[in-house]
Amino acid sequence: MTSTDDRTPTDADVCIIGAGPAGALTAYSLARRGHDVVVLEAGERLTPEDHHRRMEMWLRPNFERNAFWLDELRDAYTSTGEINARLNDTRVKAVGGTSLHWDANTPRLHEADFEMHTRHGLGRDWPISYDDLRPYYVRAEREMGVSGADDNPDGPLREEPYPLKPFEPSYSDSLFAEACEELGIAMVTQPKAINSEAYDDRSECVGYGVCNACPSGAKYSAEIHVRKAETEGARVVDQVQALSLEHDWEGDTVEAVRYAAPDGSEYRQEADQFIVACGGIETPRLLLLSKSDVYPDGLANSSGAVGRYLMDHPSVETTAVLAEPTRQSNIGWVSSRSDQFYGIDSPGPGSYHLTFSNTAKSTSGGAQLRSPPTSPSNVLDAVEDPSSEALADLANDPLNATTFGDGLDLPTTAGPPYPLSIRGAGEMLPRADNRVTLDRSQTDSYGRPVPSIDLSDGEHERETIAHCREIQKAILSELGAEVTGSSTLSGRDMSTHHMGTTRMGTDPTESVVNEECRTHDLSNLWIASSSVFPTGGANNPTLTIGALAIKTADHIDETL
């Protein structure tokens, strides 16, 4: 890893906290227009070689995958709801943020997602429409390099082609397609920020099949816009922890960010404009930690909405086996999806999308699993709770084999039968009780209360996902496959998408930021994050995060 030596403050027009996709895109967008930009990032900067090391960590069951960034004390949290927050399995604190291990799926939200209250009496409307955001979606797709095809009859309206040609469907897509056609379900191309051809000085995908730790650079990560921002003169300071935001006497503007360097030194970075871009958990946490006499409940929290309305995307998977080959795990990404059941007007109680497996075959280390089944922490879990599934995971990995030579365990065999699966992710409605608060019983390495995550599913999510599972089983049955398992929401983990905790709205009494993503309370404080989503739809949020970040940068540029 590399690092910046000088971490002292410098003159800046704009200070951005967080170097993930939102922070990197705003930094680049403002720096290229001549503004002095400083980005403060808690994590480290990775080298190209580090990405190869990360791939090996991802593929070997005896490494912890998050070891390359995790600081257990700094990143401590508590999880109090029915849903296990598992924050440190899903987020990344490093230059590039969580895009360092995202799946790079980049569908847009649908038109109805912006108007859920008007159309269906659910949640809150966004203060902007799909049409308002559409030009920024176009810009975000170009910046990230999104491949896709305009072939989705159930998707949002597009007027422009994708920047990159689509990836071709997989062999197993052709099996699913026959069944879907019989059932009248449209299968379409999955848009993704992975290069289907060389683009933006990055190679095309060469098929490493470990997308979460892609070493080739074909998958977009925010490191790309960090580099571009630096080329335009931005200063990106890694390994500094933003501790709090300080405002002026009246509480009208932010004056500085107080931050800590690795040697324990504390500094104040001043700027004209401040952007908090720390994701759906740390963004509200930083505001709550920045309480003052003017804002006793947390900075920019006159509404009381900071930390509330946390949403994720509940997801389930139905697995099956087929007598004929399914050609799984020869590529790492999903190539096809269906939005047939996206929208309240569609069949089913709520929005969800389906994705069709290319990676159902087991591999050493569980390459496609978010947390490897035999990582040291999971081995401990298995010892404490020796379920048959956990023990099978331990026993089946060749890197834990107890016999060698012809008796060597294999992660999977050539078949038959042959595995395949369908995943589905649905919408969670915003509820005030689902929230991020400060757990004052536990402090991090800087002596600050850790975030506490309280998230539970409601009836809307349970009904939506129940419908999703029935459709998954119907497709697999039509295909002639034998269903071998179907996950439920019971005891589930939080997904990788954290949304809603500083929501956007026109009413300052119930929202944190306005339609420009500027806080209602402080005129120079902006938020670039999925935390501003008033509703989360059922689609992956990062493209929308990018579109909003670019839009926010435009608004900030107008003030400078």
Partner: protein, 197 residues
């Protein structure tokens, strides 16, 4: 290497015995660079780093001998595969290759002390006996563990890692382009008639 297992340090061959063979050769890692220039990353591209590693040819030969015992007999392997895939990859953590070399020396030392010969002289079955008698088949791979745990972590599991990220494992697993191998974007589209897996 922490030695809490039966064998003692003085049973191991010295580093000098290994260094009587030629020093490790420099290899270019067959890897793709992060952020390489557009159009330059075709399959087979090379060079992110040179393979300047601490293993001698003797180490590679012992490692190859162990590979032939650990891998199923249907997998053919030679020393160039082992050197390129194991020592030619980017070192996963600083010091990993040094500890792998130490593990190789520990295994060969155990073979000499307990079985009266070098690993490369034994049959595959006898090599597996050597590993078994060290406890390598029953311990959990642990980077800073006992000798057996470290042999498992650095030596055996490095070999298994490079096997299961190589098309050499395809016949065993039915995956033509296994995760970790940059085998392009043809295999996932190929129909069952063109490869019955």
């Amino acid at each position: 290497m922490t030695d809490r297992s039966a064998e003692s340090a003085d049973e191991r061959p010295t580093r000098r015995q290994f260094l009587t063979a030629l020093g490790g050769s420099a290899l270019a890692a067959a890897v793709y660079g992060y952020g390489v220039e557009a159009g330059t990353a075709t399959e087979g591209s090379t060079a992110v780093q040179s393979g300047d590693h601490p293993a001698s040819q003797c180490h590679v030969d012992v490692l190859t001998a162990v590979a032939r015992a650990v891998y199923p007999s249907t997998v053919s392997v030679d020393s160039s595969f082992v050197e390129r895939r194991v020592f030619g990859r980017i070192e996963p953590k600083p010091g990993h290759f040094e500890r792998l070399v130490a593990a190789i020396e520990a295994v060969d030392g155990h073979a000499q002390a307990r079985f009266g010969g070098a690993m490369s002289e034994f049959s595959a079955g006898r090599r597996r006996q050597v590993l078994q008698s060290m406890g390598v088949t029953t311990v959990h791979p642990t980077a800073d563990g006992t000798t057996a745990e470290q042999v498992r972590f650095y030596l055996v599991n490095d070999l298994l890692y490079v096997l299961f990220t190589s098309p050499k494992s395809s016949e065993l697993t039915g995956i033509d382009n296994p995760p970790g191998h940059p085998g392009g974007r043809e295999a996932y589209r190929r129909g069952s008639g063109e490869g019955d897996r």
